[in-house]
């Protein structure tokens, strides 16, 4: 199974059709993400693939939340691909992982999004219900 996955992406757990865990690694020598592995959690709704899965980073002992201006410290990712508008049913776990990989690879800013603290403290919505405002076309 792993043989089919692109480098830097590993399947951790896919016991059921509700939740999958994937590990991703940034392949180039980006100093922000060097020697680190990040864990992604995919939660599929009943209407996947018509509806986007809920994709978040999870924090564990060995897996931090990557620093990125579009990733909140609670693991919520602001990426149009994962939003209702940007999602397309032709995407799959592999392509989402690769998109996130390249999103991290291309990043040079070692920072969290603006208002990270207050968002992390106050947000009670599920990631897919958070309405993001996509303004940055550089990622």
């Amino acid at each position: 199974m792993h043989a089919h996955l692109p480098p830097g992406i590993t399947l951790v757990q896919a016991d059921n059709l509700d939740t999958w865990l994937m590990d991703i690694r940034v392949l180039d020598d980006n100093p922000i993400y060097r020697n680190q592995t990040y864990r992604l959690k995919f939660v599929f709704s009943g209407s996947y693939p018509i509806e986007a899965p809920e994709v978040t980073f999870v924090k564990t002992e060995s897996h931090p939340i990557p620093m990125h201006p579009h990733i909140y410290s609670n693991g919520i990712i602001c990426l149009d691909l994962l939003d209702r508008q940007g999602w397309s049913p032709v995407h799959n776990v592999e392509s989402v992982c690769m998109s996130l990989q390249s999103m991290l690879t291309g990043n040079t800013k070692n920072e969290r999004p603006e208002g990270d603290e207050s968002f992390v403290r106050n947000n009670r919505l599920r990631p897919r219900d958070v309405s993001f405002y996509f303004h940055d076309n550089t990622v």
Binding site: M1, S62, S88
Partner: protein, 528 residues
Amino acid sequence: MSAPNSPTLGLFRSDARPGPLTIPPPNLEGTATATATATAATWSDPRQFVVGAPPNPPSPLALRALTSPSNRRATLAAPTLPLGHADSIRKRSSLPADIDLSTLDYITACDENLICPICRCPLDKPVRLACDHIFCDECLNRALEAQRNGERNCPSCRTRVHGWSEDAGKQKHKTSIPRILTQMLDELVVRCPNGKAGCKWQDKRGEVQDHVDRYCDYTLLACPESECGEVVPRKHRGKSCLHFHTKCEDCEQSVLRLDLEAHQESECPKRAKDCSKCGANIPVRELISHLSSKCPETIVSCPGSPYGCSFQSPHADLKPHTKTCPIAAMAPFLSAQQARQDTQEAQQKLLQRKVDVLEGGFSSIQSLLYTSDAGTRTPTTPLEAMSDPMLRSGSNNGAASASSTAPATENPPFDSSTEHLLFLHDSLRNEISRVENALAVLDARTTMTLLNESLRAKEEMAHTNAAINGMRMQLHWLMSARLQAQREQSGPRAGPSVGGGGAGGAAGASAPMLRPVRRSSEESRQKL
């Protein structure tokens, strides 16, 4: 289908076995159930089938609706849906319906290019968009339906799709795909969807519908007795209604006539059959286990087969072999070893994880110790930063030499952090003793100064006392001299009176000739 379980997330595909469909679109399911219950009322009433023209026969339209693609998902989901008995019967008897090609078990590997990018199954009724992307008709419709902002875009390339309409009859966005692709898809070999019931058929996908509709012995059809309302597999259809209870002639158990054969084949506790290989009479219940392990004619492999022995023989001949086969002799030991190795590996994994956790903790402590680069000469830890001023004050007091303060700041890159910690501890201890010494010295010095100061004060006080005494003596003397003088002035008149006149005269005789006065006083004393 190059990799049936590749993680390209064919959620539909992982489901591609006849069974409960976990992902029916909610809207479709809703309507399907609604129509199902609506028609179920007419179907479950047996009286309507007795005579030729029932008052409300299911119209051909309704029948078609039941077998429509949108309904077939609900049909397949029927066994798991909590529907009433009548409903489930109606559903089963409504078969044969259109088969959901995505739930079929594909035997041939399908080319990746023939897989729908949405459902990840071999394309089912493929359609092509103007941008040349191909999807299953139903997948595309569901994907386009879900797009909310009015504009419809190709799921693959987001090119605008023109001519889409929710009404399937008015859709103009799609064109058919080349015939060669359809043929390639139809030639994929699949298993019969009734495979679980026992059908062994497998053939081209293009023929599966025909097979299920007309030939498959396991397709469930309505019972020939129209009052019955139950369903039977096609192979029993030729007989009359089999839905009545009967007694098994061997075990006297009451079973449904339909299930009698299966009961006698494998369940009946009293029935016995001759084993096809060894000829022994074995109860049917145990026949399967007998054939697989006990039958002397069954070909079994040497117990050492997992460890390399390739010997295979009928059960009866195995014993002589196991006596001579060294691997078979070793097998129990080897398997015990294997089990031990497995448990050890599991333990090792656990330990590895523990070590990882501990190492993580250790490295975090290390990083706490070396927050900044080792090359900088600034105090490397808050502890050292704190101790530094103390070190300096210690050396200023001269209570201790500065020899130990130098290494603390000059060679921070230690070999190991423990060494560093130990060193820190040592230097702190030195510091404390030095500070103690300094305190003692200070104490002594302050006592000395205090003592000195007080001595001097005492001396001064004695001096002042003496001076005061002298002054008092003088005052005394002056007073008595004055008194003497007054007495002499007012001698005969006032006698010894020393009233206000004396006080008034004191100012007048402020600068007296001391000697004569004193003499006079002595004289007066003598007089007295």
